[in-house]
Amino acid sequence: MLEVEALSVEIDSKLILDTVDLNVGDGEIVGLLGPSGSGKSTFLRAVAGLVPPTSGRIVWDGQDMTGVPTHLRRFGLMFQGFALFPHMTVAQNVGFGLLAGAGDPGVAWALEWVGLGGFGERTIDDLSGGEKQRVALARTLAPNPRLVMLDEPLGALDRNLRERLVSEVTDLLKSRNVTAVVVTHDRDEAVAMSDRLALINEGHIVQTGTWEEMQRNPRNEWAADFLN
């Protein structure tokens, strides 16, 4: 279980996150929903250890992870632009996080699992947008991270593809009982993918709860506005 306690992040003396609290239970998918510039991506980066927090704690299963370097946290992060390694094949990308090298059965399995069996030897340049997205997902999930974070996982794709992939990705995550945070600025996407929502605006968590709870009881005017 992930517990984020009073997390604040300042970048260039500008407060990006202001005492954010958020819990994610085991096997739970939390959708972090907010307009652009609200601090969503920074939140993921701070949890991943890519941005140092100014104050607050990041705790996993009761263990303080705040000072732990990124590569030892075992928190997977799928980047908005996918960040696929251009000098490696699909298989090398997917196999990067596995302890074993290329030819690892895990790679083939992960590719099968996202529906890209046989794509292993392709170069990144040969892939379409949807294929890249799925390679990125496979790469994130392959090393079996304790926590999966997805930053606008479908953001870069066109509408048709997005609608199809929303359910596909959600099913994949659910099928592995993954603990996950999904960041998006799209309300429908957030609702479709997550068990629970967290609304974020200007560095503050405004409200957490299920879609229905929020609809019934928006915390304030902004929340009511944003949800409709």
Partner: protein, 522 residues
């Protein structure tokens, strides 16, 4: 995995500090510290106001200044027609002509000097000026030409329809648009000729000396180290002032015009065609006269050269020294330059800023000052002045700024999310470096290695201070052959210069085949 209280984090921080310490200690001890010793020694001499200093300064300083000015003007005059032809017209062989014109620029200065001696132009001002023009034409053609090409002909046509004469168009449209490029080219040529060493030492006889040559004479011939140090300070101040003036000019005139990225340049026809080919042909042929003469006159001397000289022996030890030195220097320069570039690109604020500046310093410092600094300063804490690694280290100092300039842009162009995503996949900083960053900059690294090799092979300024008779490099051996009288020694100098020219050309061609972009524009 059980993690304590951020112990790993602290370890990583220490690793960074340790990493930063490598280039810091290297540059601190081999660059900053010798400069400080030069300052201390030279300033005491300046304070005493030694009579010799004043006399030398007036004579040598003035000569250095005006010959640099005159060389710059002459270079522009000679390069102007060629620059016009290759900028304003598209024609078959244009690229080849620009490539050929660049050849002299990549040649070691000792080779250039020897080529002009081969023409029989020794010990004269004319030889120095001609060699400076020969060496620097490429700077003007390439720097000004690339800008000139981007001026859309319709811009000039528009001016013509408004009633401007060709001269008015040149004065009111073309020149203002070329001003930044003209200023850049002029500063570079001035700087190169102001700090000219090899060419002047070889061609100047004993009556013409730039500050660099005088520093060498005072230090190595007369062994007046304080006077040499004082002159080195004057030289450093002169170069810094020139660089600062240029930087201020750039700041004030940094307006960038929206020029065509690839303007529709016409093909010449009729008279223009003849004119263009005449200009380009004449310039290229003139450029190759010294080299051709060197080649032709060297032909009879390869036998002598490899038979070995009674005093200096054969060329093989020097060739071996040069190659080993180049390899060692390139290794040092690439490793130090790479670490430094890594630190500059890391998000480390202050540290990276400081590094960025310090790294570029050797660029503005003359190689002669580096050599002088070594022999003045490196007797402490251990006497390293006889160490065999001294020459490679000096060459590495000269090459490091170039390595950084080649590697840094590529490193900066790498999406930082690639490293971030590798980290979230469990890759340690070391693994991120090995598996992601290093492969992505491998081509830039090869180019930097080639650059360093070429720089080291031709380096003469610093080497002339620190190479010993038993550790001569190709350039210092050429110079010793040149210093000795007799046609046989001179023939061997030409043959060896030809060999060095070929080795250098080979490396530059190899670099070009890597499609390293516009490496000729340094």
């Amino acid at each position: 995995m059980v993690i304590g209280d951020g112990g790993v984090s602290r370890q990583i921080r220490w690793a960074w500090v340790a990493l930063a310490a490598i280039p810091t200690v290297f540059l601190g001890y081999f660059f900053v510290y010798p400069l400080v010793r030069i300052l201390i020694l030279g300033l005491s001499e300046i304070q005493i106001g030694a009579s010799g200093l004043q006399a030398r300064l007036i004579k040598v300083g003035w000569f250095t200044l005006w010959q640099a000015g005159l060389s710059t003007v002459l270079t522009f005059l000679v390069a102007a027609p060629m620059t016009w032809a290759v900028s304003r017209f598209n024609f078959t062989g244009r690229r080849l002509a620009v490539a050929l014109i660049t050849v002299p620029f990549v040649l070691p200065t000792v080779v250039v000097g020897t080529a002009f001696v081969a023409l029989g132009w020794r010990d004269s001002l004319g030889a120095i000026l001609a060699a400076h023009v020969f060496f620097n034409i490429a700077v003007v053609v390439r720097t000004v030409g690339s800008q000139w090409r981007r001026i859309d002909p319709d811009l000039l046509n528009a001016a013509a329809t408004l009633g401007a004469t060709p001269l008015q168009i040149l004065r009111k449209v073309t020149l203002p648009l070329l001003k930044p490029a003209l200023a850049a080219a002029a500063s570079i040529v001035f700087l190169f000729t102001f700090t000219s060493f090899g060419v002047v030492l070889v061609l100047g006889g004993f009556q013409y000396a730039t500050l660099e040559v005088e520093i060498y004479r005072q230090a190595i011939v007369l062994f007046d180290l304080p006077l040499a140090a004082a002159l080195a300070i004057v030289q450093l101040v002169g170069v810094s002032v020139a660089l600062m003036l240029y930087a201020r000019y750039q700041e004030r005139h940094s307006a960038t015009w929206d020029l065509a990225s690839d303007a529709s340049i016409p093909n010449p026809a009729g008279k223009a065609l003849v004119g263009v080919y005449t200009i380009v042909g004449a310039t290229v042929i003139a450029q190759f006269i010294p080299l051709g003469t060197l080649f032709a006159r060297s032909l009879g001397s390869y036998g002598d050269l490899f038979a070995g000289d009674t005093i200096l022996g054969g060329p093989l030890p020097a060739i071996r020294n040069s190659l080993l030195t180049a390899i060692a220097a390139a290794s040092i320069a690439v490793v130090i330059g790479l670490i430094a570039a890594k630190i500059v690109t890391a998000r480390a604020g202050m540290l990276s800023m400081t590094f960025d500046t310090i790294l570029m310093l050797p660029l503005g410092t003359s190689a002669v000052a580096i050599g002088l600094g070594f022999i003045i300063a490196l007797d402490w804490p251990f006497d390293l002045r006889a160490s065999l690694l001294l020459t490679p280290i000096a060459h590495a100092l000269v090459a490091i700024p170039f390595v950084v300039r080649v590697v840094l842009p590529t490193m900066r162009s790498i999406d930082p999310e690639l490293a971030d995503s590798a980290a979230t996949l469990g890759a340690s900083p070391w693994k991120v470096w090995r598996r992601i960053e290093l492969p992505l900059i491998s081509r830039a690294l090869l180019v930097a290695t080639g650059f360093s090799l070429a720089i080291s092979l031709g380096e003469f300024g610093a080497t002339s201070f620190i190479a010993r008779p038993n550790t001569a490099t190709i350039p210092t051996l050429i110079f010793r052959f040149l210093q000795r009288p007799g046609p046989q020694s001179f023939g061997m100098a030409m043959a060896l210069a030809m060999i060095l020219a070929l080795i250098t050309a080979g490396i530059v061609l190899w670099l070009d085949s890597l499609e390293a972009g516009d490496i000729g524009a340094f």
